[in-house]
Structure formats: structure tokens, C-alpha cells
């Protein structure tokens, strides 16, 4: 990372000749990264895609976990089945969804036609292409959220729940007043984990759209790939990485300290060490 920091002040380009002079360009790389429309659009595209994706995943994941948590026949089998999407190779997922959304060969359009809906070019229409990526990401990672929530639920004491049932609380009241507060710490942890991972989104989008149409699905990692790996402009890429890491570190630091202060106050309240 220190190397990256140094490089970010130079005009290093790996595709130059070995031993070609490297110039110190000061803050120029930062200036051109911060003013570049490609960079700003990559950042906004990433937010546009991962915020809905993570929110939907969390809601669905909690719902699925609650549903799976009740004792039921086949519960174990269902748990294993719902985990499947998380296990597939991301490149394959991208490829599958490309076929699934396809306007010509698309299975999605076929199923829609069964209920009388018209065919749609999901990956070309600017209004739907980002949602197509969101849906892919939700499909891929909801099982992970559900699994962690399920783990949290499994570790809970059933006593308060039973007590509230005796008190006649309905399902929603039970969820809001008893389950949710207990689940909150784990949800916090899952949120942080997912947010971190979602920023790394690359393989699937690279296969699905290549960042297009226009720059509608050029997420940060695609942008870095383009600059760093295809154009080998390591100086500028390092600057972009530094900007991103500083920004994320700040976010993480805030999240970290909030979590710490919370868990401390919880420890005080519950009187445990």
C-alpha cells in the first residue's frame, strides 16, 4: 500500500519501456481522478447498485432466516438448498444471468410471455440494466445473509419468546420487540461484511455487461480494471485506489466506533464484563 501511495504521485505506466523515466507529477493524478467523469460515474454507479442490493438482501435474508428458523419437516434440506446460490463460481453466475436476461434467448422473457407480458431488452434499456445487476447480486448473496441471521437466531434463548406468546403478542409484535433487538448486533456485523464485499463486485458485471451500456454499470472495480489492467496507468490507478481506500476507511472507522460504543453501553446495561 505504501508502494501504491508512492506510485500515485508519479506517471508510472507499466506498458512503458523498462527503465523509462518516471516523473513526479505531484497531485496531478489526484486532480485528474477527482475531476474525471469516469471516476465519479463509477462511484455513483457503485452506490446505485450496492445500496439497493444490500438493503434488499438484508430484508430478504432476515425474512428467509426467520422462516427457516421455525421447526419444520425438511428444514435441514431447505437450508442446504437455499445456500446453493452462494456456492456457485461468480463468473458462471454472470454467464447464466446473461443468458437469462437475453432479449432473444432469454428465459426470463419466455416466462414473462407465459403471463402475457411483453419481451424486454433488460441489459440494453437504461431503466432496467442496473436493476438487472442488483437482482443478480441479491440472488447471489442473500443466502449468506440468511445463513448468518439463522446462526444468530439459533443462538437465541427461546424463553422471552415463549413468555411473550403467553402474553398474547402477535407475530409482528414478537418480531419487533423481541427478535429484532436480539438480532441487531448480528445484522450490524452482516451489514458491514456485505457492504465490504459488495464493493469488490467485479466478475459478474464484467461478464454480464462489461460496464455498458454507456457507463451505466461501470462499478469501481471495473473502472480500476480498465485503468490499471488494460491501460496499465498504474500511477493514476494508485491515486484512485488511495482515494477509495481513504474514503472507505473513514466510513469503516465511523462504523467501527459506533459499534464499539454500542457494545460497550450494552455491556454496561447488562452488567456483564
Amino acid at each position: 500500500m505504501l508502494v501504491a501511495l508512492y506510485l500515485s504521485f508519479t506517471d508510472t505506466n507499466l506498458s512503458n519501456a523498462v527503465g523509462a523515466p518516471v516523473h513526479n507529477v505531484g497531485l496531478n493524478n489526484y486532480a485528474s481522478v477527482l475531476t474525471s467523469t469516469d471516476f465519479s460515474s463509477a462511484v455513483s454507479t457503485t452506490c446505485w447498485i450496492i445500496i439497493p442490493a444490500v438493503v434488499i438482501e438484508m430484508v430478504l435474508g432476515v425474512g428467509i432466516a426467520l422462516w427457516l428458523n421455525r421447526p419444520r419437516r425438511y428444514a435441514r434440506g431447505m437450508r442446504a438448498v437455499t445456500l446453493l446460490p452462494y456456492l456457485l463460481v461468480p463468473v458462471v453466475i454472470g454467464n447464466f444471468f446473461r443468458m437469462f436476461y437475453s432479449a432473444q434467448f432469454g428465459q426470463l422473457n419466455y416466462y414473462l410471455s407465459l403471463v402475457g407480458l411483453p419481451a424486454h431488452a433488460w441489459l440494453t434499456d437504461p431503466a432496467t440494466v442496473r436493476w438487472a445487476v442488483v437482482a443478480l447480486e441479491v440472488w447471489h448473496t442473500t443466502p449468506f445473509v440468511a445463513l448468518l441471521c439463522l446462526a444468530g437466531l439459533a443462538g437465541m434463548s427461546p424463553d422471552p419468546l415463549e413468555a411473550s406468546m403467553v402474553d398474547g403478542a402477535n407475530a409482528w409484535q414478537r418480531f419487533v420487540h423481541i427478535v429484532l433487538p436480539d438480532l441487531l448486533p448480528i445484522l450490524g456485523a452482516v451489514l458491514v461484511l456485505r457492504a465490504m464485499d459488495a464493493i469488490q463486485l467485479f466478475d459478474e458485471v464484467y461478464v454480464l455487461t462489461g460496464g455498458g451500456p454507456g457507463r451505466l454499470t461501470s462499478v469501481i472495480n471495473l473502472y480500476l480494471y480498465q485503468f490499471g489492467f488494460r491501460q496499465f496507468q498504474i500511477g493514476q490507478t494508485s491515486a484512485a485506489v488511495t482515494v477509495i481506500v481513504v474514503f472507505l476507511a473513514a466510513l469503516a472507522l465511523i462504523a467501527f466506533s459506533i459499534m464499539r460504543s454500542r457494545s460497550r453501553s450494552r455491556e454496561r446495561n447488562s452488567g456483564l464484563g
Binding site: 454467464n95 434467448f105 428465459q107 445463513l147 446462526a151
Partner: protein, 273 residues
Amino acid sequence: MVKGLAHVGNFIIAIALIVVSIYPVAWLIVVSLQSDSSAYQSPTNWIFVPQFGTYGKLFADPSFLASLANSVQLAVIATALCVLFGAMGGYALSRYKVPGATGLTFMFALSRLVPTFAIVVPTFYIYRQLNLLDTMAGLVLALVAFQVPLSALIMYRIFGGIPQSLDEAARIDGAGFLRILWQVILPVARPGLAASAVVTFVLIWNEFLFVLVLAGNQVVTIPVTIAGFQTDKQVLWSSIAATSVISLIPILLLIAFAQRHLLSGLGMGAVRE
């Protein structure tokens, strides 16, 4: 009446979950048993005479078998090392006031935030110098280095959930650091270890970018092999599908094997914040 409705509702949820989770995998299986062009059928040809030619071809191909062997070797060794070092590091962090431990934990989390591209290219350079490119040792090293922070973080949480009184009792009996870890803590933490091993295994098994850059033709793994079936002239769908199906099997076996531990283990790690 209400109960009947609930039953129907549950049934519908169950079916929906199964269909959504299994559909792509089922599609991959169907395509793997037909020709490449079956991928373009819409509606999908669900009823067909299976042809095992693609599987036969793959298993007769020495380079495919080599990549399968590489994947297994890499995932097993790297996962074992990750869990080992993760356990040691996580234990140390949770038990001792290592100078700057909080900062270190934070750095661990941060290292997950750095875009993979920013890590891969410097690693390539270092490997060039050390002659580690295209070697199994190099891949193991890189993936362990990349994944250990996550393992350590999970372990840190798990060990944090185990009462210190256990250690103290052992220490009074004269046990040292490693013995306490090995004989007292790890047995209690076994579900957590298993869960973190499974998560790590899945991540390493599906890792794409590191292998793509750091491996040459000698130590290619399954995800890179899959990507190779898609050239800029044609997409060998049948081979992609068959390889994906094959690559799912070890993961499924592992999960079936560890399912008992998976929930309680992740629960140990996640509930404590």
C-alpha cells in the same frame, strides 16, 4: 381455516425458495448434458436424452484433471493454513493486550476493503522476483495472506465468546500459550473453526483474479478453466456448465459434512459483537 391458509402460505414460500435457488443450477445441469446450443433454447429443453459426452471429454482431458487437482490442493492447503493462522492470530488478539491490537484488527478489516486489483499487481512483481509465479506455493501463499485477516476476525469474535476463566484455570495448571489454545480453547471452539473453514474454503475455491494473474499454465484452477471456455469467438456452454456442476460437488460434500457445525459455529462468531 387460518391454519390451512398458513400451510398453503408456507408451501408456496417453500416452493418459491426452492425454485429460485435451484433454477440456475438445474439449468446448468441440463445444459451440461446437452450440446452447446441447448444454452440458447428458450424455453429451456427440460426433457431430453442426456448425453454424457461433455463430462467424458472433460475427464479424458489431462489439463482439466490437472486443474481439478490444483483446485483441490490449493483449497485444502490454503484453508487449513488460514484456519491455523486465523486461530492463532484471533486467539492472541482476543486474549492479550498486544500493543496496537485495536489498530491491527482495524487494519485486518481494512485489508478486505482494498480493491483486489490494488493487491494483485504488486504481488505479481514480488512473485517475479521470488520466482513464485505459476507455482502452487505462490498461490497458497497469496490466498492465505489475502484470506487470513478474515479468518482471524471471525476467530477473534469466536474466542471472545469463550470465557477467559477457562484459560485461567489451565494457566494455573501450568499450561503455556499454545497448549491452552490447543487443548482448552480449540475443542470448545470447534464449531466456529468448522464454520470459518467452510466459508474460507468456498471463497478460495471460487477465487478467480489471484489465480488468473499469479498462475500460468502450471497451476490453473477450475474458475480460470471455466473462464477459458469462453473465447471471443465462441462460448462452450456445455463445458462451462459441466465444469460448474463438477466444481459444486466438493463444496456440497463439505457443507453436508459440516452442516451440524455451520450454524452453531457462525452463531458463535456473529452473535458476539
